[in-house]
Symmetry: D2
């Protein structure tokens, strides 16, 4: 299958390149860029020296649709909203890694993203796909909206409890932590090494644009009340941990909760549940498509604590996009994604 990437010079794009280079069915035909046309990707990313002969090409939806079967859009919010429809209209399959088609309510998108929403027709056309929860909609789809990094970790952490309707109203708090690569390659005082190293900060307090995405998905699973979701910047490059708190008012034991998760995820190749008493760390999924989950229930407070970790650039972006691509094209879902994490 011929694939192209728009935004290969970003960190998510770099991971797409690494995955697709080794994928048995998708081959990278073309790389597209808005700003570095004519360059080779290795001029931007020396770690790719010698690996990709293609020159970066300019963005031209008609030509892109002719050259490729599938385009990954690793572009910022605000770009995809225009580009994706043109590609799909020209017959190209599209997986969009931006937030532009995730929020089905335009007003909410505009409220949280502070940007103009995409066209409603295309928002509805785009299939939001977290494969573990809705892979059946993806098969044969032409246009996929790939979930955000935080929502992936959070929703996978919450789904079994929410589906069973076990969490008390207004009781969900997600304390989320991310490595700095989530901020991309943007250079600003806020992202320089000396400011972030040996430092820990909160950001976007009660304002993170992933809040409506999580709430929308939880609502579809049956949870109606708003959540508290708070993000922190951790002095590391990769990894997301969502520490999730919720109240359970029905009588339950931690073993019963664990069994629920075990059943829910028993056939999932990319979700690994840790034994009771054991919790995953972010580095244990680095470089892989795994989402690892651990949990505990505290009878003193009737609170469940769920720890969900992913690699933000992988299951939180690039490798989940390839997982979706596999499903779209009827391939084995795990194809080209069965590599183990890179540790230490």
């Amino acid at each position: 299958m011929k694939t192209g990437i728009v935004g290969a010079t970003g960190y998510g794009g770099a991971e797409l390149l690494r995955i697709l280079q080794a994928h048995p069915e998708f081959s990278i035909t073309s790389l597209y860029t808005s700003s570095q046309k004519g360059k080779n990707i290795e001029e931007h990313y020396p770690h790719l020296t010698g690996l990709f002969p293609q020159k970066l090409e300019e963005i031209n939806p008609v030509k892109m649709a002719e050259e490729t079967d599938l385009i990954f859009l690793a572009t910022p919010s605000g770009i995809s909203s225009k580009l994706a429809p043109e590609l799909v209209e020209n017959g190209c399959s599209v997986i969009d890694l931006s937030g532009d088609f995730r929020i089905k309510n335009q007003a909410k998108y505009e409220q949280w993203y502070k940007k103009e929403a995409a066209d409603l027709f295309w928002i509805e056309e785009a299939v939001y796909s977290l494969p573990e929860l809705n892979r059946e909609k993806v098969k044969g789809a032409k246009f996929i909206s790939n979930p955000g990094c935080y929502p992936t970790a959070t929703i996978l952490g919450l789904a079994p409890l929410v589906k069973e309707n076990l969490l008390a109203e207004n009781s969900i708090i997600i304390d989320a932590k991310s490595g700095v690569s989530g901020a991309g390659q943007s250079a600003s005082l806020a992202t320089i090494y000396s400011e972030l190293n040996e430092n820990l900060k909160v950001y976007k307090v009660n304002q993170h644009q992933h809040i409506p995405e999580i709430e929308q998905m939880l609502e579809s699973l049956g949870y109606k009340s708003p959540i508290t979701f708070q993000t922190h910047l951790i002095p590391m490059t990769r990894g997301i941990m969502a520490t999730i708190y919720g109240r359970i008012d029905t009588k339950i034991t931690k073993e019963e909760i664990w069994d629920l998760y075990q059943q829910f995820y028993s056939d999932e190749p990319f979700v690994r549940l840790r034994k009771l008493g054991s919790f995953p760390t972010t580095k244990e999924v680095t470089g892989s498509n795994f989402c690892d989950i651990g949990l505990d229930f505290d009878e003193r407070t009737s609170r469940v604590t769920i720890v969900s970790v992913i690699d933000n650039l992988m299951k939180g972006a690039a490798s989940q996009a390839v997982q979706n691509a596999n499903i779209m094209f009827g391939l084995e879902e795990t194809l080209g994604l069965q590599f183990s994490p890179v540790y230490p």
Copy 2:
């Protein structure tokens, strides 16, 4: 004033040495050790080369009480419980940095610390002192129990709201994060660099021994229900951040909450409240005695979010101990502690 330190070879001890070396009233007379007698401290800590001529001496309470006016016990839990009473009985003032005298209920201590509690007489004798909340008890006291690192950040973050009785029952969740120096100099697979760098982990899920200390203090301030308190290990050496969540059921604005904090801490030299919309980072207090606090209130969820940061080895241990020492001996509370944070 002649002071001595037991446990100078730990990280808290190292910071005590740094502070007291420059303190105008306390001078370091003697350093005591259980294991490295006869050595010079610079053999253990080369960064102190040339600064402390004293040889490490063995622990002998009678002799220690003769030689010094004040002993800082920077010793692990389980050691202080025996040593502190002997020193006090021999007429020496004592500030204990361990957890041994913090929990006033012996059963709770034993439940959470998994160790035998100290003698009840001495537990009651020891004045637990977080100066911003109970400095009046410290003046003239002979035996101080210095607060834990997490409790310091957490309680200072919560006190104004709790005292006003604004937080809903069973609504407090503290997601706490600490740098690795909190684990001390102990070498184990869990503390080696390659395991912790570029990694993020939870630990002691629902089992941290600082939980009863926080609950005891909150109870004394008027909050009776249990809390959820979860600790995370951050890939940095120093710093604690407590991200605190609670529900407020009365109608209130963030400006009103901010005013409450502003009034509560307006005369405190070591608590710095950030403007609304601004939040402290851990590095902004590194090496200092400051506790910096920022907050927000989310009307969508009726939840307040409080971010409280300290340097775990300073306000969380050594410099707070010196702050207490200043009060005990009737000195200016800020004496020898007015240095600015080390940044970046």
Copy 3:
């Protein structure tokens, strides 16, 4: 091909597992251990959860030779010297990642390693293989001694100049830097996070056991005088950089030196020469089998500066061992090793 690993619980072993899991010809049949028999590898390495069903087995050379075609010894120096011969005698191919068979002069081994040397017969039997320099000896060999991490980066950095006899006598200085994973999983005060983070140290000054290995190889390439080789511990987990200095007394330009390297390595799939004016960083090879090289020549001082980087656990250990395994068994040398670095 059935392969087994001794020492899978070390970091080099972990990388062998990651590589072999995805290798098209070598399959991991058995994992052997001296201390954790009966456990599953995921109990030691949670990042491998679900990936390796085998239980760790005890070390029994006869049984190991029956069960497998090839054994990787990721064992410390002093262990391999006994184990490797027994395996080879029982008909098993062996690749030893330790230093035990690298130094062909027993006295030198004992001087630098402070351990008893292996049997001379087996030292001579073991083929030291840095494939780029002596792959012809590896084809069909049964017993390979895999090079050290520092020697790999250093010798590849020096080989083109040394083979042309361009470097002045007694002029080579190698200032080498390594991430902490080179120290393995050993827990000691010297390897804990708080001591190494935000810190930089030299170690084994003029005493590193890789010195005789480098000198032996340089001598075989024609350089007879001793070298200065100094190692530093960098606050990062992975990566080695060798900054190499040497004097060139013949008249030469940097372009001519660059051409020399370009020709020398033009057909090498795993050595990437950077353009003049450009130098590799360690992260640009992380997780891969690449050795990247950049160079400059300073006419002011007649000194050449060569910067050579590898991932110490990969080209410096595990992936180079698999490269050797490919050659031994007549497979394509790049088989299962053509993945791109993990960046950022």
Copy 4:
């Protein structure tokens, strides 16, 4: 003494603020800025919240000279060359932390700095002062050029050997490593966290502007040949290590070399020589004015290895400037600088 700082928003400026805030003789009267006039320094540096009431003022040499006795110029090269002379002419004492007045040969400055040199009169007027080597020139001086960070570590590491004329011609190689704060607060792709964390890079190969400064000082001490000096960026915020190599052709032992250093620095309050076999790490001087030195001599190669470490922002900039200020004004040289390093 009334002092002012130009460039307080840089990292060197931040350390000046920290030091002077606690200095018994110098008080900070005014802070000057080219770009943030009217702001309070805490808006730029929240770690200074509450500590400095002064508003940032615009740069006006006449007014500055009226308001203050001494100005520290923590400004980039190219700014000081104009500003310093105007201040001195108006009667103000000046300590310039930039490179503008260090190189006494204008052509060399322009060759290495790629900027126009300062006026020759003022270059000659400026006293270059590394106090340990030329403090006698500083007493009573009005205009000091403070040394660069790398030159400070390097020259202090070499001085005893060079003064004794023990190092062979053309034999000095300095492999220097710095934390990222040396790059200041400038935001670019090259300084963002994700690019530098877990990474190691060389920079300015054979082109660093500190080369002529080091050579000029070595020449004044008697060493005439050019040096090789190579810089590396280490994933840490603070600290410089210079690993220095040189050949000694006369017969000598490491003990004799150590004695030489011991005598040379025996009366120096800020240079600490480590015992033979022991070497300093960068964190052992963090936050202090110390330069720590360790050394070894290898008879195999006749090479001496000297390891010299400083905190680049302190002895490499701010605290050395205050040390010079103390000397200028006839104060005790150690005044306000006797704090111990911050460890860990």
